[in-house]
Amino acid sequence: MKDFEYQTATTVDEAVSLLAARGERARVLTGGTDLIVQLREGLREADLVVDIKKIPELMELSYSPRSGLKLGAAVPCYRIYDDPEISRAYAALADSARIIGGWQIQSRASIGGNLCNSSPAADSIPSLIVYDVICHLAGPQGRRTVRVADFCTAPGRNVLGRGEILATLEFPPIKKNSGASYLRFIPRNEMDIAVVGAASWLQLDAAGERIEKARVALAAVAPTPLPLTAVSEWLVGKPATSETFAAAGDMASLAVKPISDKRGTVEYRKHLSGVLTKRTLVIAADRARGASAPAH
């Protein structure tokens, strides 16, 4: 690992100007659980690392049923699942936060960092997509917003420009009779990267029988985390039954175009896309009907 300069920013403007000055040679540090490994292994190089954990706005975690959830980009994962109200309201987000690395990693790593690392296999991004999260960015040209589904552009790449940082993730308020879930498949039981990850979100009618709205997104089946738009639209108006969810799983299997690599084959990933879509829809429907997420 090459020596690099380390600076702590205490305001968004300070971080932006530090980063803008160095461009590609500067990197943002939150938990560092991806960045430090990448620097050590020579996958990335940096002359300057800017720590943004001291910026109050980026450490903000606030929730109200009326306004939804504001998640600062540097908030570590454990704060999500440690908060009973947030983890009940945004159960799929808590599902993701609980399985990113182990406890040590979760005490440092942030959802914002997981998004900005922009891995196709990121465990949080499918959940962010199904919650239709809005990303608040800050850069030399000022502030802008981007829908999370449009954030990642390629493996390890995203829409952030020179000097631009992710400041906050804005989750819309929770709708009545809605529920969501994230599952991933790994060959072991922890400390692994998703072979396939799936998040589903459902809004049911008052009786809990018919699907009014649906969103499904998958990880590790495409160059970027993948919203399954056609499957999501097909689900609308269907009965929330195991037959529907199995059929949605079959559609998901056909909709994805994964690759074969050290973690799985094309055929296996397609198959898992179906299994996990079905399983997350079942859990999402249960949660929409009032089942609570498992306690941590």
């Binding site: 060959p187 039981n189 050290k262």
Partner: protein
């Protein structure tokens, strides 16, 4: 839980569970591992490694690296003596020094991705890494081959132009990727197959796997101005490390002192040297101590995994399940240099059974992978996966219970193994009986997608040389000096044997692993030998001390030494008695210190058998296998410290579970490993295995005064076959390729569905 079937000798120390002597240092973090060695003025060495799986080295230009500020020394293969083919015996296996030298720093060719090419020492590791980038190596890439059967094909890329096939002493005339062909045969094999009621033949494949020790290789060298070289290193054999280093540098062994540090795991992978003589050369060049530590990817790509294999086995039996004939074809990759694990593979493939007519052909095969090294029962697991899986299939076809089929054919005293030796008293049948009687086997397995499997395993205990000395202290304790580096709690199990012999408490013996100047020659910690052979040395140290103490007691009692009786550490004569401690306090007045010594080289290695039972559940949709319950039953001869015996049984089983389910070297089409890290090289974590249950069977080894059999290696042998059998019960799929990873098992389950 222990079931004793042997003698009923009463011991005071043996069989108890004292706190290990090195326990406090280990749990407080004060034990000195290789990475804790910090010498004044030390600089840091790093190694440049080949990006190609196979290439000719056209040139190496180190000039820019040498000029980088902070760089103290640069070395390449050209700095080392050009060694001729000379075989050095490393205890558990021999090595050709020319190959060892070329493996540790490439000479004219790189033979695998990760093959070391050059080394740099610099004032800090980051500068050393920067300097590596400045070394210009011109390669001419060659076609590579990684799968063993591909490497054997005519027209396969040839790794060495001077290696020819040696077939049981007969040498071929043209170069080949097959350095060795082994052939064992006994009885009338073809006739026996022709007469058999049932004959089955199957093929099995296994992937390359790594020992996965947590501590990476680390070594610090100081080449002093007086020409003496001291090495602090993490090794399974300090004398072996001394010998290899001296040979590679062509200096007398008396010029080298190896100080063994605590080891964070070895499992066979820390016998060959990788860093020691490179650090030494860099130290000689720059006149400062040089410390070298591998990164994890270097450990995977630059040290020794155990072979990937292809095994074909044919078994013939009568209707009643009597094995009448066996035939095995084994091809194991050796990696980039000859001398893989094919020998023990051939010896072990039929080692659990009495098969009167058998034939085994084994092939050591070169491939563009790191040179393979020993890994816990090296070569046996691949062979057992084949033979034991077939025993399960045979049991099913004949409608015989799998334990019963094994009992009908089990190797016992007098059984001749296909490679020649005849077993003395062994405890295989006892492990099968204990399995049959176990609560695990007797309790029904309920629920869908679940299955129970059973398999057995075998491994040798080699004897080899050990030395030890015991110094009696005036307070009645004994300082025990031994040379076996401790990777499995052996300090304590060896000390306990001395304590038992002297009739004192385990805590009254203080064991210390000395450096190569501080103790007599001792072979590697390997081959499940330390508790057996170094334990034997400790026993003989005890006898020597007892004899001298008896003489001292005679002086005190003013009688003939022959009149002194020694019982349970009490010396008695003429109605008078002295405890060991009281007598130790009188040594100053009776002639001075008492030092006991022993050097042993026991003949007649022993044999360890085990039987494993496993319950699995397979997710019918994802094919993920969950281990629900696991029991290891093993003959320990005599369990000196039962907790450590259980620990070995559990640890071996867990490594076998990893091998069975997920561990593998994944290569791309250019022969480059895709997963040189613990994220994607998937060893089991604590959440992936249940508590491994253990049943120690004790059939004392007649060749050891306390009946010890080595236990360290046998437990890795059975798991893949046991798990494959359980998966078959759960899914109907016979898995014949390791690892039985979810994508592979799912594909097999999907293919089976109508």
């Amino acid at each position: 839980m222990a079931s004793s079937t042997g003698d009923n000798k009463k011991y005071k120390v043996i069989g108890t569970r004292p706190i290990r002597h090195d326990g406090a240092d280990k749990v407080t973090g004060r034990a000195i591992y290789g990475s804790d060695v910090r010498l004044n003025g030390a600089v840091h060495g790093k190694i440049l490694r080949s990006p190609h799986a196979h290439a000719q080295i056209k040139s190496i230009d180190t000039s820019a690296a040498e000029k980088l500020p902070g760089v103290c020394a640069v070395a390449t293969g050209a700095d080392f003596p050009d060694l001729k083919d000379k075989i050095a015996n490393l205890g558990e296996g021999a090595v050709n020094l020319a190959h060892l030298s070329a493996n540790v720093l490439a000479h004219r060719k790189v033979l695998y991705k990760g093959h070391a090419v050059a080394a740099v020492a610099a004032t800090n590791p980051h500068v050393a890494e920067e300097a590596l980038k400045l070394i210009k190596v011109e390669y001419e890439p060659l076609e590579s081959v990684t799968w063993v059967l591909d490497a054997m094909r005519a027209g396969a890329p040839l790794l060495h132009d001077n290696v020819v096939t040696n077939s049981m002493g007969k040498k071929a005339d043209k170069p080949s990727n097959v350095p060795t062909h082994i052939h064992f045969e006994m009885g009338k094999v073809d006739e026996a197959f022709a007469k058999a009621d049932i004959v089955i033949e199957r093929e099995y494949k296994t992937a390359s796997v790594h020992q996965g020790y947590i501590e990476p290789h680390v070594a610090t060298a100081l080449w002093n101005e007086d020409g003496h070289l001291t090495l602090w290193t993490s090794t399974q054999g300090s004398f072996t490390a001394r010998q290899q280093t001296a040979e590679l540098l062509q200096i007398p062994i008396s010029r080298v002192t190896v100080v063994p540090c605590e080891i964070g795991g070895g499992f066979g992978g820390k016998i060959a040297v990788y860093l020691e003589h490179v650090a030494a050369m860099l130290s000689r060049k720059c006149g400062r101590p040089v410390k070298m530590t591998m990164n994890r990817d270097e450990v995977f790509e630059g040290t020794g995994p155990t072979p990937g294999s292809f095994v074909r086995v044919k078994l013939g039996a009568t209707k009643t399940g009597q094995l009448v004939a066996g035939e095995a074809y084994l091809a194991y990759d050796a990696g980039a240099f000859p001398g893989g694990m094919i020998g023990p593979g051939c010896m072990c493939v039929f080692s659990c059974y009495e098969i009167p007519n058998a034939r085994v052909d084994g092939y050591d095969v070169l491939a563009n992978k790191p040179k393979t090294q020993a890994y816990r029962a090296p070569g046996a697991t691949q062979a057992a996966f084949a033979c034991e899986s077939m025993m399960d299939e045979l049991a099913e076809k004949l409608g015989i219970d799998p334990i019963e089929l094994r009992l009908r054919n089990a190797a016992k005293e007098g059984t001749r193994r296909v490679d020649g030796p005849t077993y003395p008293r062994v405890g295989f049948i006892e492990t099968l009986q204990a399995a049959k009687a176990s609560e695990h086997w007797k309790s029904p397995l309920k629920g869908p997608h679940r299955g129970r499997g059973i398999a057995s395993g075998y491994w040798f205990n080699i004897g080899l040389k050990s030395s030890a000395a015991g110094n009696v202290n005036p307070d009645g304790t004994v300082s025990l000096i031994e040379g076996s580096t401790d990777i499995g709690g052996t300090r304590t199990s060896v000390a306990m044997q001395l304590a038992e012999t002297l009739g004192i408490a385990a805590e009254e013996v203080m064991p210390r692993v000395a450096d190569t100047d501080g103790v007599g020659y001792t072979d590697v910690t390997g081959g499940s030998r330390v508790t057996f052979a170094t334990g034997l040395a400790a026993y003989e140290v005890g006898l020597d001390i007892r004899r001298q103490m008896t003489e001292r007691a005679a002086l005190v009692f003013k009688c003939d030494p022959a009149a002194v009786e020694c019982v349970d550490g009490m010396y008695k004569a003429n109605g008078k008695s002295l405890t060991f401690r009281e007598l130790a306090g009188k040594l100053g007045q009776t002639g001075g210190p008492v030092v006991g010594r022993a050097a042993v080289d026991p003949e007649g290695p022993s044999n360890g058998f085990g039987t494993h039972i496993v319950d699995v559940e397979v997710d019918p949709e994802t094919a993920k296998v969950t281990i629900l319950r696991y029991t290891v039953i093993q003959d320990a001869g005599r369990a000196i410290h039962p907790s450590y015996v259980e620990g070995q049984m559990q640890g071996g089983a867990v490594q076998g579970i990893g091998w069975a389910l997920n561990e593998e070297y994944v290569f791309d089409d250019q022969g480059r490993m895709q997963n040189p890290n613990y994220l994607d090289y998937r060893m089991p974590t604590a959440l992936d295995v249940p508590m491994i249950e253990t049943i120690i069977v004790e059939v004392p080894n007649p060749a050891h005064p306390y009946g010890v059999r080595g236990v360290g290696e046998t437990p890795i042998v059975a798991p893949p076959a046991a798990i494959a059998a359980a998966i078959y019960k759960a899914t109907g799929v016979r898995a014949r390729e390791l690892p039985i990873s979810p994508p592979r098992l799912w594909a097999a389950m999907a293919a089976k569905k109508p």
